[in-house]
Amino acid sequence: MIIKEFRELVRDHRTLALLVALPLLLLVVFGYAANFSVDSVDTAVVGPEAEQVAGTVPGFFDVSTTEPSEAEDHARDLLRDDVVDVALVTGGSGAQALVDGSNLFAAQSAVAALETSGQDTSIEVLYNPDLKTSWVMVPAIIGLILTFIGTIITSIGLVREREAGTLEQLAVMPIGPSTVILGKVTPYFLLAALDMAVITVLGMLLFDVPFNGHVLTFALGAVLFLLVVLGIGIFISTISQTAGQAIQVAFFVLLPQILLSGMIFPLEAMAAGVRWIGYLLPLTYFTMVSQGVMLRGAPITALWLPLLVLAVMAMVVFTAATLRFRRDLAPERKVKSRPRSTDRSRSGA
């Protein structure tokens, strides 16, 4: 029995990969990425004394913008557009520190650093004044749910057709591959969109998460992100023969999204060798959009980069996946040569 089990396992490459890759992945993630403490925060200093203050702030505040001619309004814009995590406003009666509360761990570290600096600085946390974890997590969890539906549920739905043999039947029916793909994907797209709306509203009702931005910007990000994850789901279905295989592959896709997208561990706190993986994951960019719109009320112009990345990902992944799926529905091979002369000599008639 033990030998039989080993023989089966050796031929099950995906399970073997899971057995080998999962511990390695977890080791790398928890070794290099699982870090809640932020070493430095991007900081802007504005106001007439900006140059002086920029030279005296502790090293924790990485001053990337110094603008003496600008005032508090500009500082708020920089935070809203996620250009910096902290803005120090100089001039007037005393220095004022504005902190972006939507970047939870950076904000917590910045507030702690400001409070222990000994300087007379008033601190105002924007977008998440109480630094609630739920406010930051709900927009990211919306993306996680879309990822779950888009990859696991969609891939299982498609693989089930293959397992049941009905994909073969669809291939013979007078409906084009595009119609089959559209017919299969549309219900999942609509269900995911409905789920997203429900989770967003529930998150707002249950956890008082604000929705400060424009719904259309949020919807655009969600649609692009959905196309990416649906594309991943279709792709998984093309490389899986059974629902079990699809779940295995989807697990490989889902786990890094949870751990490395910045949803749990801040990207800026990860080692550079791991952080780049986070920047390849679609959930990273959706979280930027959802947190930006919901918490900071960021306009579309401030979110053009994550939206553009999602659009490119959607185009590449969805196109590649549907082309692969079309191949499953197409005849297995091309005609290699022309017809030969008919030979009926073996007919028993």
């Binding site: 049941a164 043999g165 009905t166 029916m173 007078p174 030969r340 008919t342 008639a349």
Partner: protein, 275 residues
Amino acid sequence: MTYGLTSVDVSFGDVRALHDVTVEIPAGQVVAIVGGDGAGKTTLLRTLVREVAPDAGHVHAPSKAEIGFLPASTGSWAALSVTQNLNFAGGVYGVRGAALDERRTALLATAGLSAAADRLASRLSGGMRRKLGVCMAIVHRPRLLVLDEPSTGVDPVSRVDLWRMLSEAAAAGSAVVMSTTYLDEAERAGHLVVLDAGHVLVQGSYDEVRAGFPGTVTRTGSAVRPGWSWRRGRERHEYWPDGDAPPRLPVVEPDLEDIVIALSLARRADAGARA
């Protein structure tokens, strides 16, 4: 109208699944494709419905809209009811509204599925589910009906229902081709094709196949040449391709099972001699 394959070769990698296969499927006739496991029956049918493109040869088949196909799998969607499955198939083939209602009612009655119209396909017995698959394949009255082992795993009573449906489809003008491992069933077909390892061993009506069978088959307790014999009940049958059986051995009138086995043995011996 006659459909079929002309001089078709199909390979999967290094494996030749069909060798120079020519089969005609005339309208109004049921053609049975018989052969053992790996004979090439399913490949032949999948080539006919253009799911597999041949390496060489011609496929004569109508457009997809005029083909009805029952794959080797169940042929229906488990999570849909009998009615919903038929409605889906009808809708895909452009049969809608009152015409679909009328057709669905008639098909379910013929198949003995009227009482199960609202039952999920997953809750049907194997035979009922195969009959539903056939109903879905013929809902649009196809010109060419292609069925991959429609009766495998089906009880004798349901097989009678299946045959009635196929006969009615052929009588209505469809060209019907089906694969089967049941030789008694193949004998009922107007035309049968015997496949072995992708080669057509013989084809024609049952009478034509019997009349054209070369050599003799004898009955014996123990075979003279074990490699040319096979068990039939309590005795063995032995094939003599050149008709040179010893006079002491009683000659039997070969039935289709004898013919298929004998010709397969002859082809394999021939292939072995060439190798």
